[in-house]
């Protein structure tokens, strides 16, 4: 190699302009061209001991897939990715790379890190849009059956991995479509649903069966599953919304982020009345919260034509959302009202919200999370006029499965207690992973937990476990 290290700058990915994109639901970043991808890939130093790999929970061989891009073997690159990651087109888009693989990239010490996520997206997209997606090798059928509860990234990954190991996996999904947060939470403009569908199809082609409309705990219980399956993996996510329990919160026009995003993403309310599910037609919306879910809600409301204010009780530096998302939201004209917290909602005769009464806050001493605690400033009440409020202050575990599974241990937040390395729970033959164990986290961590659990379940099924 003749080029100097760090000579080529990190390649930007073209994206839709803020003026255009806040009027449509099309994807914002447009993807690398072949040329841009190869130029970016050429920045990778092909480290002998690649530091980047320790930041990837699904253990992708990063230099190897990047080298194949340099060599022009894009389909080969995608296959390399799929050796360890069943959903690369998703991860390339939604992984918080700056906190994972790219954080450890050696180039990042003096220059900017290699854009690993963008390259991953490029290779996966190339394979999908250029004909046949090849299947990896599948081990000889063991005849063992595993029930997977929940078809989000964790459940899909676990089922796919077990299928490759020769086991028969069946996913039981409560909604009418698998994908979890990937289909109902993360908006179309960040993760097109056609891509999720393609990745789910890939998992199906590995031999995984997906049964939709099965609410475990209602339609069928974990104990009933154990009658016909050799093991059960619970990956039900952190799907229950948190409200603030303040006055007026049940007024019309006030949504949990879950409801708002599900209406728009899963049910496609942005195409009402062509699609049957409605969503509020907002003039002025307030989003409460400062995380990724709040950004997604705000940007969604903006695309539906609203003037959007984001109300967050701490300051900008404490915002848990990714910088890139905050930046995108600002570009799209979302107004940030920082150090502000709603205390009650005002409504009209018909029961519609008309205003959010807020308090200004200042930062006090650090709290348990290490962030400075917001303290209300007395007498600072003011009212923001609104017709829509989206509460995006967090999600918690849904109790349906634990409540219907005797002996399944949970912690005080309702999360299932499971061993970090194996996913083992307090019940024999029952494993768990993803957000239901960790609380709301990331796609890639949910997938990483599934990878580890898949190995443990494989050992269990092959006889190291008690049951055989």
């Amino acid at each position: 190699m003749t080029k100097r290290i760090g000579e080529i700058p990190r390649q930007k990915m073209p994206e839709q302009s803020p003026e255009d994109r806040c009027k449509n639901f099309d994807e914002v970043p447009l993807g690398y061209t072949v040329e841009l991808a190869q130029r970016e890939a050429s920045r990778c130093l092909q480290c002998k001991k690649p530091a980047c790999r320790q930041g990837c929970p699904v253990e992708i061989d990063i230099p190897a897939f990047i080298r194949l891009i340099v060599e022009g073997d894009f389909v080969g690159s995608a296959q390399k990715l799929k050796e360890t990651n069943n959903l690369p087109a998703v991860c390339g888009r939604v992984c918080p790379q700056e906190a994972q693989c790219e954080k450890f990239c050696i180039l990042g010490k003096r220059f900017e890190p290699v854009a690993i996520g963008r390259l991953e997206r490029f290779a996966a997209d190339y394979e999908r849009t250029h004909g046949e997606v090849n299947l990896p090798e599948i081990a000889v059928d063991t005849g063992k059956r595993v029930a997977v509860v929940g078809g989000g990234p964790s459940g899909l990954t676990l089922a796919a991995d077990l299928a490759k190991m020769g086991h028969r996996a069946t996913i039981f999904e409560g909604l009418h479509t698998p994908g979890g947060v990937l289909v109902y939470g993360i908006p179309e403009f960040r993760l097109p649903k056609a891509i999720v569908r393609a990745e789910v199809d890939f998992v199906r082609r590995l031999g995984v069966e997906i049964e939709a409309n099965q609410v475990v705990g209602k339609t069928i219980t974990v104990d009933e599953l154990l009658e016909t399956f050799d093991a059960v993996y619970i990956a039900t996510g952190a799907g229950a919304p948190v409200f603030m329990n303040i006055e007026g919160e049940n007024l019309n026009g006030i949504y949990s982020a879950n409801e708002y995003l599900t209406r728009v993403n899963l049910m496609k309310a942005y195409r009402f009345p062509e699609m049957d599910t409605p969503v509020a037609r907002s003039r002025k919306a307030v989003v409460i919260g400062g995380g990724n879910v709040a950004m997604d809600s705000a940007r969604t409301a903006r695309r539906l034509g609203a003037e959007v204010h984001l109300v967050y009780r701490r300051s900008r530096v404490e915002m848990p959302a990714r910088d890139e998302e905050i930046h995108h939201a600002e570009e799209e004209g979302i107004e940030f009202q920082l150090l502000t917290n709603p205390i009650r909602y005002l409504g009209n005769e018909e029961g519609w919200v008309t205003g959010a009464e807020c308090l200004r806050m200042e930062l006090g001493q650090p709290d348990a999370s290490g962030r400075r605690r917001p303290v209300p400033i007395e007498g600072s009440e003011f009212v923001i006029e609104v017709d829509t409020v989206i509460v995006a202050i967090g999600n918690q575990a849904n109790p349906l499965v634990p409540a219907s599974t005797p002996g399944l241990e949970t912690n005080r937040w309702g999360n299932i207690v499971a061993d970090e390395e194996t996913g083992k729970t307090s019940r024999d033959g029952v494993f768990a992973g993803g957000d239901i164990v960790t609380g709301a986290a990331t796609v890639i961590e949910a997938m990483g937990a599934a990878k580890r659990a898949a190995r443990a379940i494989d050992r269990f099924l092959r006889g190291e476990g008690k049951k055989l």
């Binding site: 009418h176 609410v215 409200f243 049910m267």
Partner: protein, 280 residues
């Protein structure tokens, strides 16, 4: 897909569908509901399980054709199928040895009261069913209720059948006549459940109502179904749908049910328009 094995018109705007859904049928209990999506563009709507047959693996749904989803559902015929059915959802009714149980069904609420009456009777209670509708044509399942009740009292708002008046009038007469009622169930339009609850409050009769707020997932994931009960927010789909009628904020519920009034009207008009075009 969930095939329709039987379709029957019970009243001008009320239809019965028997649908193959063996997993739901196997678990169904009185008081529970299911959620369906008619087709791919369809929204998710909840309907109470009016009956089920565990052997045949079918469930029975009875619904009023009020808007786009229920009208679309009504257009399906035997042999055709519903895209998605999920359930059973919500808690089952609390069936116990109460003594005398009054089961009140108003309008299309006659359907969901039937399994409750049947289960309460099977538990050894004396069951008095009171059913009412606007007029004679809108009544159905009187015979089925007779088979599971010790007594059935029927009323119509306009007096076109049996007595004239509301179900509350019948209940009042019954109690004033000296009947010792230990618990009342009321299912029907919100105004009716509210009226029953007001009345039974005066008499000190514990009353259970089944709430029907707008829902989406039906599993506690979205909070669309928030209702206020005893001053607290509850999710009707997982905490209910049955609640203590004396503690429900019915006015709040009625307001929340109106949330999409504008869009619903628009969707109905659009549907009418599309059908007119198709038929032309």
């Amino acid at each position: 897909m969930y095939p329709i094995v039987k379709k029957q018109r019970l009243a001008p705007e009320v239809l019965l569908l028997e649908v193959e859904a063996s997993r739901i049928a196997r678990k169904a209990e009185a008081g529970q509901f299911m959620i369906l999506r008619v087709d791919d563009p369809g929204e998710r709507i909840p309907l109470t399980l009016a009956d089920w047959d565990r052997e045949r693996g079918t469930i029975t749904l009875i619904f009023q054709e009020v808007g786009v989803s229920t009208k679309k559902l009504g257009l399906l015929n035997e042999g055709e199928a519903i895209s998605d059915c999920v359930g059973p959802l919500g808690h089952a009714s609390e069936i116990g040895e109460y003594g005398t149980v009054v089961c009140i069904g108003g309008g299309v609420g006659i359907a969901p009261i039937y399994p409750v009456a049947r289960a309460q009777r099977a538990a050894g209670n004396r069951v008095i069913s009171i059913i009412g509708a606007r007029n004679k044509n809108l009544l159905f399942w009187e015979d089925k209720l007779r088979a599971v009740s010790d007594e059935v009292l029927v009323t119509t708002d306009d007096g076109s059948y049996r007595r004239k008046g509301f179900v509350t009038d019948v209940l009042k007469q019954l109690v004033d006549g000296g009947e010792q009622v230990d618990i009342a169930y009321a299912i029907g339009p919100v105004v009716m459940m509210r009226a029953v609850s007001h009345l039974t409050m005066e008499y000190g009769i514990h009353t259970v109502v089944s709430l029907n707020p707008i829902m989406m997932d039906g599993t506690g994931m979205c909070g669309a179904c928030r209702v206020t009960v005893d001053g607290e927010t509850r999710f009707a789909c997982v905490d209910g749908p049955e609640f203590d009628g004396h503690k429900v904020d019915f006015v709040g519920l009625m307001k929340r049910q109106q949330m999409y009034l504008g869009q619903e009207k628009e969707a109905r008009e659009r549907m009418g328009h599309c059908r007119a075009e198709r038929d032309a």
